[in-house]
């Protein structure tokens, strides 16, 4: 019986992975076709393959491709980090945006970006974001270590988030650039408009390292769902597990936020929707959440591009419209736990 369900979930998991991958593939192709200008796809692609520089090729290669890749990378980082953090603190509300990690990463990136450091050393931008994210994750980890109630986590998240946002606003106001204070919308809501390959290369190393760190805890996370004592008796090194997830999430989220601003709720919605298809196992949830996050963010970015607004809608507005009801639903569902 046990074996049968396990086999079933494994098949279900493979099916899910395949499905998400194929959706991602379709969206990827669609994303390259969608834009302000109608360009001939075949011509554009053939120009790229023949290494000819034409208008079509430039629009494909330098505008749409980096944007699409960033949506996938950042979406995957957010989904994966959400799933990993939820597994670590065993709380479905842990999400980079909700618990203030994105806001802190934005603060780190803003300080580095607006005071000239990032233009001197480009790598400083993701590093600033990572440093900000790391401070927030560590703080939340220490806070919830002994008191794993939902209330503590959410309230601490609210506090961290508002402090980081206030400091971001302060830093932007103190910045020498007159446009800076208007850019708070970008840092709080996020956007992928007009990003280029520079940004892809900037965040790629930290993102991949973060993914690897989080995915390497796959097995241990499954065991951890049985409880800390059981996990320890089965040989899971909790310290090592926590360290990897904290560092991994900080790397992935910090790098992502430093080029896209804080995009909320992806890490909340995706694991929540996919959990049932992986047999509620936090370790298995990781890979599918990464794929799901990429699918969700890419779809959101395509929607933002298609909406007939005069100025492009910030992508975080869309994910929040989608995610906030989920958040409420999750809170209502687990109202019982509030007493603890």
């Amino acid at each position: 019986m046990q074996v049968k369900t396990s086999l079933n979930t494994r098949r279900q998991e493979t099916l899910l992975t395949l499905m998400l991958t194929s959706i991602l593939f379709i969206l990827f192709a669609f994303s390259l076709v969608v834009g302000d200008v109608n360009i001939n796809i075949i011509n554009g692609l053939s120009d790229i393959f023949n290494n000819k520089s034409t208008l079509n090729a430039i629009i494909f290669e330098e505008i749409r491709l980096p944007r699409t890749l960033l949506a996938m990378l950042i979406g995957a980082s957010l989904g994966l980090s959400g799933a990993a953090l939820q597994g670590m603190v065993r709380n479905p509300l842990a999400e980079p945006g909700v618990i203030g990690v994105s806001a802190s990463a934005a603060l780190g990136a803003v300080i580095v970006f607006y005071f000239g450091l990032a233009s001197a050393i480009p790598m400083a931008l993701p590093l600033g974001g990572i440093a900000g994210a790391l401070v927030a994750v560590l703080f939340l980890y220490l806070l919830t270590k002994n008191n794993n109630s939902m209330l503590t986590l959410i309230l601490a998240g609210v506090a961290v988030s508002s402090l980081a946002s206030a400091l971001t606003a302060l830093a932007l106001n103190l910045s020498p650039n007159p446009y800076a204070s208007l850019e708070i919308f970008f840092w709080l809501m996020g956007s992928l408009a007009d990003r280029s390959f520079t940004h892809v290369w900037l965040i790629l190393p930290a993102t991949l390292l973060g993914w690897w760190l989080m995915l390497s805890t796959r097995r241990d996370l499954d065991v951890l769902s049985l409880g800390e004592d059981t996990a320890q008796s089965l040989g899971v090194q909790l310290q090592k597990l926590n360290k990897r997830i904290i560092l991994g999430a900080a790397l992935a989220v910090g790098a992502a936020v430093s080029v896209s601003g804080g995009i909320g709720f992806v890490g909340l919605v995706v694991p929540h929707l996919l959990r049932r298809y992986v047999g509620y196992q936090p370790g298995r949830l990781l890979l599918s959440s990464a794929l799901g996050g990429a699918v969700l963010l890419l779809a959101a970015d395509i929607t933002v591009r298609l909406l007939p607004t005069q100025q492009e809608l910030k992508i975080g507005v869309l994910t929040a419209l989608l995610g906030a009801p989920f958040f409420l639903h999750l809170i209502l569902k687990s109202k019982r736990e509030w007493a603890s």
Binding site: V37, I59, F113, N177, A180, F186, D194, S196
Partner: protein, 281 residues
């Protein structure tokens, strides 16, 4: 006898008129708007123009930033404005509206300057301002100078206008009903944003910008102060590659040339023309 009396009467009236005029001529003028600062500095000495904004000395925003140091620069806070005891306050129609309103309610004489979008409207505005500050001859002289300069610029226009597009921070461009559009036309350029049917300052996506196939790209502030997301779009790799592909001329024009309509607008047109000529010859 009768004639003498008449003369007396006439000269009396003259004296009255002159005294009234001198009395009515504002002696303590304060400006609350960057564009008003620049026009007033062209017409008035520091003794009469007793306060201008702090922006006026910002080399990025103000065309007359060097002269501004000769004038007193206030903080734009209403209490300081009142302490200056102005008898005339010149404000922008669309800037610092709460302050303007409060000043009017407190009984100060306030005149509002709109935003001219054609060169003729600029001339009208200068004449209007000259009348209200009691310097009509100075104002006429300024307009005359501007007309001469305009004639010089239009004489130098190229026969076949090139197609240009302005690209500002945050991916905005200037279409019809903007002074920038007028400046391009004066310089002898066709504004692509107007071709595309855009009005006022409007967003233009990077893709549409490239697809419009401009001959000339006018980039605001590319070389100054780029530590903001707003300016990152001006450095996008797609723009660089496109410029290399079609040999598009990129002209960087500082914002101070066209942040306000006024004498600086003609300076902007001639700046563009000089940079164009330098390239073609």
């Amino acid at each position: 006898m009768k004639l003498k009396k008449t003369w007396l009467l006439i000269s009396f009236f003259f004296a009255l008129l002159i005294s009234v005029n001198v009395f009515a001529k504002p002696q303590r003028i304060v400006s609350l708007n960057l564009c008003a600062d620049q026009l007033l500095m062209a017409l008035l000495p520091p003794e009469q123009l007793i306060g201008i904004t702090q922006l006026a000395s910002d080399p990025e925003a103000s065309y007359r930033y060097q002269e501004a140091s000769q004038y007193y620069q206030h903080t734009s806070r209403i209490e300081e404005i009142m302490a200056l005891k102005p008898d005339l306050v010149v404000v922008g129609e669309f800037t610092a509206q709460p302050t303007n309103q409060l000043l009017e309610e407190l009984g100060y004489k306030v005149i509002k300057l709109g935003l001219p979008v054609t060169i003729e409207e600029i001339f009208q505005q200068v004449i209007f301002l000259g009348e209200h500050i009691g310097e009509p001859t100075q104002a006429e002289k300024l307009v005359l100078n501007m007309r001469e300069e305009l004639a010089k610029i239009t004489a130098l226009r190229e026969k076949e206008p090139k197609r240009a597009v302005v690209y500002y921070a945050n991916g905005f461009t200037a279409g019809q009903h903007t002074i920038v559009n007028e400046i391009l036309n004066i310089a002898g350029l066709d504004n692509i944003a107007t071709e595309l049917g855009l009005n006022f300052v409007a967003p233009l996506s990077l893709e549409s910008l490239l697809a419009s196939k401009p001959d000339i790209l006018l980039l605001g502030r590319l070389n100054e102060n780029t530590d903001s997301l707003a300016h990152q779009v001006l450095r996008h790799e797609a723009i660089n590659q496109y410029a290399a592909l079609r040999q598009v001329q990129k002209i960087m024009i500082p914002d101070r040339y066209w942040s306000c309509a006024g004498p600086s607008s003609l300076a902007a047109a001639s700046y563009l023309q000089q940079h164009l000529l330098r390239k073609t010859h």
